[in-house]
């Protein structure tokens, strides 16, 4: 389809400069140079008029100059001996400008001239160029040629920016030949007109060979735009230079334009490709091949309320793109970020689908308020935590006590990019919510082109990757007998409850680890999308289905069905634009309420699960049958809608009004049932019960914005002004229903005989702000970005609801400086940037600033009484986080190597805490701001390299590393608050005070600790003897990615690494080894103390409460022995794919055909004592090792 647009293109103009070539002004020769040269030159001066009349025949140049000087008064500088070598000249001009006269005079000579004020410098042999360049930037080459020849260069800056490395060696080569050798490899052409060299794109000659197209009528041009692979580029803007004629290529990359002059220059632009300029020279058909932008520095990067590029960004933003997300077979987008974002720690708490993740960007800022970042999906703020719910064990817990992760309800396949905003420059515009960083999720949008149908399907399986080496039946029984003997307890005495020894078959053996967590989880995923569009309408429709089963016995699954759509429409003049997008997901999770991981520690001789008749075996109530846990049904269902509408109108090409409207609704219903059969028969339970949760979070947001761009001086000023109005309404309830006489009715609340409302939630949160950004870019060299926001939040009391936040960011792209160019030609990009500013944190509950009253549980005198909940403090306000960042970014060898290093220091003050007050006030604490200061600082490093790049092979690597520290800088009056128990000045917030364990006393066989006086004891006291401080923050962490491409094959390998200390499994059991309750143990316990003189690492077995060993065990749980190295290197992701070659694909009428293998958590290298160093738990399922196989077809 062809479409001609009159008026100015809507698409971003290249580098913000006007269409057409740009005059690079010749720098006036420095006066010093003139003076130096003057000594060797003959100087003469005379005359005053501007126009010249010459009629000279066969005279020396000298004479001509003198005549001109007489008439005009201009001085001439030249080397006398050179001029004398030239024979006579003739010149005949009448009343022409002096330049023309000189030009005419020199026409037959090798001389050329420059005018500097009223001085005319005449030099000879200008066309020869001597150049020795290695990796020199093109603009430096031009400068040098200009210096040698005096020729002026005209070029579009965009044309040459990315061809910035030239390696040539010329000795007095003629100018034209020199230019040809320099420019030709770069696909550039040139023309010399008078003393001006115009640089332009090489015309594509193949166009002439395209005879399949009819010859266009005069004045009309047709053309096709393709990429280097020959694939059509849709949506490229085609502009006739110097006119307002413009069009956009269609799905086949074709375009046509009418009424174009024969000698017009056509410019073709596209965000992802280099700009192409083509001089028509009468050609009616223009075929252009656009080169993809080489540098990732120029890829769009999403920032708050807009986009920028890595090159021009003054803030710290890390981007993870769809191509990396799609390589990972995970169902929560947070999982895709692990190890990939410097400064962001993401811990998967459990391997269960839907489970929680803990997320921290640049450390823990707040002592008592939330530390979650702000999530924004297509401009719509998204909850970071679910509402209080039934709290399924497998889902882990969040800060507010709820379980699960709201991000589970976003389909990773629908995501185009995730941008993590970290420093003040990037986050201050989010004001009161930016303190903990911001995660911007952008979903996929329709693109111009013919309708594409893409189908992507994968299936796979997951398993627990690490298991514990547990005792076998013999070893287990020996441990138990030895414990009884150590304690001097007879197996049959009442104080020994040992059904494992007395009731159970002591010859039985079950590998419970295999039974409970040895299963295989199955993955099924199918995504289909249709996208395409014209210049008027672009659309994307997608649907997805994802099913994941658990690894426990039984057949339970989590199923997600999702729909994603996006429609964009433009008015025909491209001024008005409207976009609507939506993501809707329905999640039906039937994984169950219990994580059976801890059941893998059952004694190895525990009874059979089933009786011969198939019923559950309760073994005379000597155990809790683990599979009874699966009888309790737990079924959360979630419906989540995130939708966004964007309306914009461009009054001028530079002035745009825009409004973003967003709506998010998340509905979570849970049912948990306790059938009669859930309980052992001996309990005589005759009725069942159920719990019901109904939660709803709905929020809407309106954000009007004005963008205006303006050239001031040599720079571009971009201004943004906007406002936010937001409201979040949360409603929820948890009901307990009892007295179901029939298990079949457990999900019908009406069948209950008694219903108790356990809790209700109903809160409103309103929020509004005004924000502004001023960005000034001086020739892509000096950048300054000022952001400000005034915020109001309903979470604060009257008079404290509003606050101001702001930041300043500056950048200096020093590689744009000539002297840097010259000195470091290999440096293709270099930028220093710094930012400082403030952002706030309002992650406290709603309504905390007013005294609220709750109703009593039971009525008095027939009515429900009311009682106050809290003290009234209207005066608290935001936590303020002041962020400082210094960074350097650079590109070497045409950006083949990109590196970034940043230092940050965030200081969070005005800490919002429940400040302890005397109870005489009525309550024990009051929410207030404390002059406590928490500091996070660290270094983040990132290196991306293109190791090999040839036509058939590409190898790229990326490595990132974060080193950080967290500490409490000050906390006034700390010792008099409840916080004194666990906070220490100058230490991290998460410090743990533990005892120092000396080892096992070789005489008593019991663990010994050091008390505060240095004396060994098995019975230390808290807190005096707890003198060792354990810091579980990672010391450093990061990731290492390698991508290999060979023809159609692509291999991507990603390692994640963390250096940290964590709680090991030695003391994770509540009971000491030897207790019946302690169940089975790791084989490590075999190295125990048995008799005096034994040097053992594990103390003697015990099975009595109150025995010294039992007491010592409890202290050991809080000793330095319970912590050990939990560092790991994990092969987090491997993706291997094969893409069918175009020829074959075409034969099968496919645009793309790809098959792939993906693996997640494939290998973990660690010394960690326990199942998994990431979640460090024996109770929760570790992240699974997942293998998937898939196929992707684009029709």
């Amino acid at each position: 389809m062809n479409l001609t647009v009159n008026g100015v293109s809507n698409l971003p103009s290249p580098q913000g400069e006007g269409p057409g070539v740009r005059l690079k002004l010749l720098r006036i020769m420095k006066l010093t140079l003139i003076l130096l040269t003057a000594a060797a030159l003959q100087v003469s001066a005379s005359g005053y008029s501007q126009n010249v009349t010459l009629n000279l025949k066969d005279v020396t140049l000298d004479k001509v100059f003198k005549e001109i000087r007489r008439q005009t008064g201009y001085l001439f500088l030249y080397k006398n001996e050179e001029v004398k070598k030239i024979g006579k000249v003739s010149v005949n001009v009448k009343d022409v400008p002096v330049e023309e006269a000189i030009q005419e005079s020199l026409a037959s000579t090798p001389f050329h001239f420059k005018m500097v004020d009223k001085t005319i410098v005449v030099t000879a042999e200008p066309q020869n160029v001597t150049l020795s360049a290695e990796g020199m930037s093109l603009s430096s080459v031009f400068l040098e040629i200009k210096r040698q020849t005096g020729y002026v260069f005209w070029y579009d800056k965009n044309l040459i920016d990315n061809h910035s490395s030239v390696t040539v060696e010329f000795d007095r080569r003629p100018l034209e030949k020199a230019l040809y050798s320099i420019l030709s490899p770069l696909n550039l052409d040139f023309a010399i007109e008078k003393k001006v060299i115009v640089i332009k794109s090489k015309p594509v000659v193949s166009a002439m060979a395209d005879t399949t197209k009819p010859k266009a009528p005069p004045g009309e041009i047709k053309g096709r735009v393709v990429n280097s692979k020959g694939e059509p580029i849709a949506g490229a803007t085609v502009t006739v230079q110097g006119t307002r004629k413009s069009t956009i290529t269609d799905a086949n990359g074709e375009f046509s334009l009418a009424g174009v002059d024969d000698d017009a220059v056509i410019q073709i632009t596209h965000v992802q490709y280099e700009i192409e300029n083509i001089t028509l020279n009468g050609k009616g058909i223009v075929n252009a091949t656009l080169q993809i932008k080489v540098s990732s520095l120029d890829e769009l990067q999403v920032i708050a309320y807009g986009t920028t590029t890595k090159r021009l960004n003054t803030g710290n933003v890390s981007t993870v793109k769809a191509e990396e997300i799609e390589k990972q077979p995970v169902s929560n987008p947070l999982a895709t970020l692990q190890g990939r974002v410097p400064g962001m720690i993401i811990t998967q708490q459990t391997g269960m689908p839907g489970g929680s993740f803990s997320v921290q960007i640049r450390g823990q800022n707040s002592i008592a308020s939330g530390n979650d970042p702000l999530y924004v999906i297509d401009g719509v703020p998204y909850p970071s935590q679910l509402l209080p719910n039934l709290g399924g064990v497998p889902w882990g817990t969040s800060a507010n006590g709820s379980s699960g992760s709201p991000l589970s309800y976003i389909n990773p396949s629908d995501i185009e990019s995730i941008d993590v905003l970290k420093d003040a420059d990037a986050t201050a515009i989010y004001g009161s919510r930016g303190a903990n960083g911001v995660v911007l999720i952008t979903t996929k949008k329709g693109k111009i082109g013919k309708a594409n149908v893409t189908v992507n399907m994968y299936t796979g399986f997951g398993k627990v990757s690490r298991k514990t080496d547990l005792l076998n039946t013999r070893q287990y029984l020996d441990m138990r007998y030895e414990a009884l003997s150590n304690d001097g307890v007879d197996i049959n005495s009442p104080s020994s409850w040992s059904p494992d020894l007395t009731d159970w078959d002591t010859s039985a053996y079950t590998n419970w680890q295999k039974t409970m967590i040895g299963g295989t989880s199955h993955y099924y995923d199918a995504q289909i999308s249709v996208s395409g569009g014209t210049t008027i309408v672009q659309y994307l429709l997608g649907g997805g289905y994802h099913k994941e089963t658990d690894i426990f016995p039984g057949n339970y699954s989590d199923q997600k069905t999702s729909v994603h759509f996006n429609i964009t429409t433009n008015s025909s003049n491209q001024k008005f634009k409207a976009m609507l997008s939506g993501n809707y997901i329905v999640d039906n999770n039937k994984i169950g309420y219990y994580d059976l991981t801890n059941q893998s520690f059952l004694p190895p001789n525990a009874p059979d699960i089933y009786n011969p008749d198939g019923s559950l075996n309760w073994a005379n109530d000597t155990w809790s049958n683990p599979l009874a846990l699966l009888i309790s049904k737990y079924n959360p269902t979630t419906n989540n809608l995130v939708s966004n509408a964007l309306l914009s109108y461009k009054i001028l090409p530079t002035l745009e009004f825009k409004t973003s409207l967003g709506y998010n609704n998340m509905q979570v219903n849970e049912i948990r049932t306790f059938p009669i059969s859930f309980f052992p028969p001996s309990y005589n339970i005759t009725t069942g019960s159920s719990d019901f949760t109904r939660n709803n979070i709905s929020s809407w947001i309106i954000e009007p914005q004005v963008n205006y761009q303006l050239i001031i001086g040599k720079g571009k000023l971009t201004t943004l002004l906007g406002g936010t109005i937001q409201k979040i309404h949360t409603v929820g309830e948890i009901l307990n229903a009892n007295g179901f006489t029939n298990d079949a009715f457990l999900e019908n609340i009406r069948a209950a005989s008694k219903i108790v409302v356990q809790s209700t939630t109903n809160t409103q949160y309103k929020y509004n702000g005004a924000f502004s950004r001023l960005n000034y870019n001086w020739q892509d060299k000096y950048l300054i970005n000022i952001t400000g926001r005034r915020d109001g939040s309903s979470r604060f009391g009257p008079g404290k609801q509003f606050a101001n936040f702001g930041a300043i960011g500056v950048g200096w792209v020093f590689s744009q400086e000539n002297f840097i160019h010259k000195s470091f030609p290999f440096l293709s990009f270099g930028k220093l940037r710094a930012s400082y500013g403030s952002a706030g944190n309002d992650l406290i509950g709603d309504y905390q600033y007013i005294t609220t009253y709750s109703s009593t549980a039971f009525p008095y005198q027939g009515v429900q009484g009311l009682y106050p909940n809290n003290l009234f403090n209207p005066d608290y306000s935001w936590e303020v986080n002041k962020k400082l960042e210094l960074a350097i970014e650079g590109g070497l060898f045409k950006d083949r190597i990109y590196f970034a290093a940043s230092y940050y220091r965030n200081r969070s003050s005005n800490q919002l805490v429940g400040y302890p007050v005397s109870r005489i006030t009525g309550f024990g604490s009051v929410v207030s701001n404390l002059p406590a200061l928490v500091q996070n600082k660290g270094f983040e490093f990132l290196i991306n390299t293109t190791n090999i790049k040839s036509k058939s092979i590409t190898w790229t690597s990326s490595v990132n590393l974060t080193i950080f520290s967290n500490k409490l800088v000050e906390f006034s009056n700390l010792s008099n608050t409840g916080y004194a128990r666990y906070l220490i000045i100058d230490q991290p917030l998460n410090i743990i005070k533990v005892y120092h364990l000396l080892g096992v006393n070789d005489t008593t066989g019991v663990y010994q600790f050091v008390d505060s006086k240095g004396t060994p004891t098995y019975n230390p006291s808290y807190p005096d003897d707890a003198t060792v401080l354990i810091n579980t923050n990672p010391k450093f962490y990061g990731g290492f990615q390698n991508n290999f491409q060979f023809k159609g094959f692509e291999l991507s390998v990603f390692f994640q690494f963390v250096k940290q200390i964590g709680r090991n499994y030695l003391f994770s059991n509540s009971y000491a080894p030897g207790f019946y309750f302690a169940q089975n143990q790791s084989a490590i316990v075999l190295n125990r103390w048995q008799k005096p003189g034994d040097l053992a690492s594990i103390q003697q077995y015990t099975q009595s409460f109150g025995s010294p060993a039992s007491i010592a065990y409890e202290y050991a749980q809080n000793s330095d022995y319970a912590f050990s190295d939990a560092s790991f290197i994990r092969l987090k992701n491997v993706s291997f794919s094969y893409r069918l070659s175009d020829t074959w694909a075409k034969k099968w009428h496919l645009q793309n055909f790809r098959i792939y293998f993906q693996g997640q958590n494939l290998l973990t290298i660690t010394n960690y004592k326990g199942m998994d160093p990431e979640n460090q738990s024996t109770q929760s399922l570790p992240p699974l090792r997942v293998f998937t196989f898939g196929i992707q077809i684009t029709l």
Binding site: V8, T851, Q861, R919
Partner: protein, 481 residues
């Protein structure tokens, strides 16, 4: 992006106005607080809403009574009630539980991190202060309701201070809800506290309805579960007695006693503690489903005393009864296992669960008013009228008239009568020993029996440790860390 040519510069200046206008509009909007004003919470009520209508304002005081009686470890009732713990501190109970808190009160060595009552009473005081402050500024509350609520709030505040002062000595006097001031309060003198308590009660006496009212605080009812004018008068009589203002104590007690249309001694001792007893001046209504009073639940022995039934009556108390005393028959229960007989307080009788609620927890009753007047009269050397009051109580118990016939012997007889009449109720015995100056003499004998040696500073309980830590101006009672 275009160059700043003339046309665009003009456009800029034109649109500059638009931008400035937009800025102003947006900023005005922002400073318009409406955008951050939210509806009041729904699952909890903000204080503004609570005090915007009669019913919910009244419900706040209902909530105080509800909280006093609800739960099994409250000041008023249950496992850690004043009746139980102060009874252990004095000579009323012997402890059989292994509970460390009960242990400490029993051996009179209460540690500052196990002491009770303080937190709960100051919370009620906060609520009372909140009501009093709200009533000043609540135009929507009717005058009638306002009057009753102010009266009840002042009564509650006085009631709490009475116990705080008598348990802990000088205590901070908190009369506002402003935590910034209150958090740093220091102890007020006895005079200050008493004058506040007396002023509150005098005021409450004037404001409160003379009848008992329902939860709406207007409709009258037969349930004696909200304080009325006579409850304020009765408490005032007690406070005057404690502050040794004998004449006023006598006057206030007389006022109550003379109201015979409402209050009489029930001749059947077994009916004294039933709900809406004719003797009741103020009772608390049990609210927890399935329970009558926690006093019955914990005191009435159905097995050997243990952690669930933590106490039995001490031999000091059992031996204090005259053998002819009907109170020993009706109010003291016995249970025998083997050779061991245990005595227990049987004033409240329904200890089983899921019985109809027929007993309310007695807070103020007429018998105490007779004993107050007897003591006040004896102190004023009104021997004969003092004897009259004492004999009324003795007669009901089936005892002959007192033989005491002078001030000293009468005071001794009255203290004894209070011991056997008011035992296991609200720590009367512990408070009586302290205010009459007999505590050292009595406890020096009792303490060794409980396994310790009496220290006079134990007469005051320690202030909770956290309070000393959080309020630098609070000083611990002597003898405690």
């Amino acid at each position: 992006m275009v160059r700043a040519n003339k046309k665009n510069i003009l456009a800029f200046f034109y649109f500059k106005n638009v931008i400035i206008y937009s800025v102003v509009t947006i900023l005005l909007n922002v400073s318009c607080k409406k955008l951050v004003e939210i509806d009041p919470p729904v699952t909890v009520l903000s204080s503004d809403v609570v005090f915007s209508n009669n019913a919910s304002a009244a419900a706040v005081l209902t909530g105080v009574y509800d909280n006093m009686i609800y739960g099994s470890s409250k000041f008023s009732s249950g496992y850690y009630s004043l009746s139980l713990l102060a009874g252990l501190s004095a000579d009323e109970f012997k402890k059989y539980s292994t509970d460390p808190t009960q242990e400490q009160f029993f051996v009179n060595a209460v540690s500052s991190n196990r002491v009770r009552f303080w937190v709960e009473l100051y919370n009620y005081i906060y609520t009372a202060n909140a009501v009093l402050e709200a009533m000043v500024a609540s135009p929507n509350i009717s005058a009638e309701v306002k009057q009753q609520l102010i009266g009840e709030a002042k009564f509650v505040r006085a009631f709490c201070y009475f116990y705080l002062f008598n348990l802990f000595g000088d205590v901070p006097l908190i009369t506002t809800t402003d935590y910034k001031v209150n958090a740093l309060a220091s102890r007020a003198s006895a005079d200050q506290v008493y004058s506040q308590v007396i002023a509150d009660l005098k005021s409450a006496k004037e404001l409160l309805n003379s009848q008992y009212v329902a939860a709406d605080v207007i409709t009258t009812t037969s349930d004696r579960v909200r304080p009325n004018k006579w409850a304020a008068t009765a408490l005032l009589a007690r406070v005057f007695l404690y502050s040794k203002d004998w004449a006023n104590a006598e006057n206030e007690a007389t006022a109550v006693i003379n109201n015979t249309s409402m209050y009489n001694l029930d001749t059947n001792l077994n009916n004294v503690f039933v709900k809406n007893s004719i003797e009741a001046i103020w009772q608390l209504q049990p609210v927890q489903v399935g329970y009558n009073t926690y006093d019955a639940y914990y005191f009435v022995l159905t097995s050997t005393p243990n952690n669930a039934k933590p106490v039995a009556l001490s031999t000091f108390l059992v031996n204090a009864f005259d053998s002819a005393d009907n109170r020993k028959k009706d109010w003291v229960g016995t249970i025998t296992f083997g050779t061991q007989t245990y005595y227990y307080s049987n004033k409240y009788k329904i200890s089983a669960l899921n019985q109809p609620v027929s007993e309310y927890l007695m807070v103020l009753r007429l018998a105490e008013q007779h004993l107050i007047r007897a003591e006040a009269r004896a102190q004023q050397n009104k021997t004969s009228s003092s004897q009259d009051d004492l004999n009324i109580i003795r007669a009901r118990a089936g005892l002959p008239n007192t033989s005491a016939n002078d001030k000293t012997s009468l005071l001794t007889a009255i203290l004894h009568e209070r011991q056997v009449e008011l035992f296991s109720e609200w720590g009367h015995r512990w408070l009586d020993l302290k205010r009459t100056g007999t505590v050292d003499a009595v406890m020096s004998i009792v303490c060794p029996q409980k396994g310790g040696t009496w220290s006079p500073n134990w007469a005051l309980y320690p202030i909770p440790l956290g309070e000393i830590q959080n309020d630098p101006n609070l000083i611990q009672n002597p003898g405690y860390q």
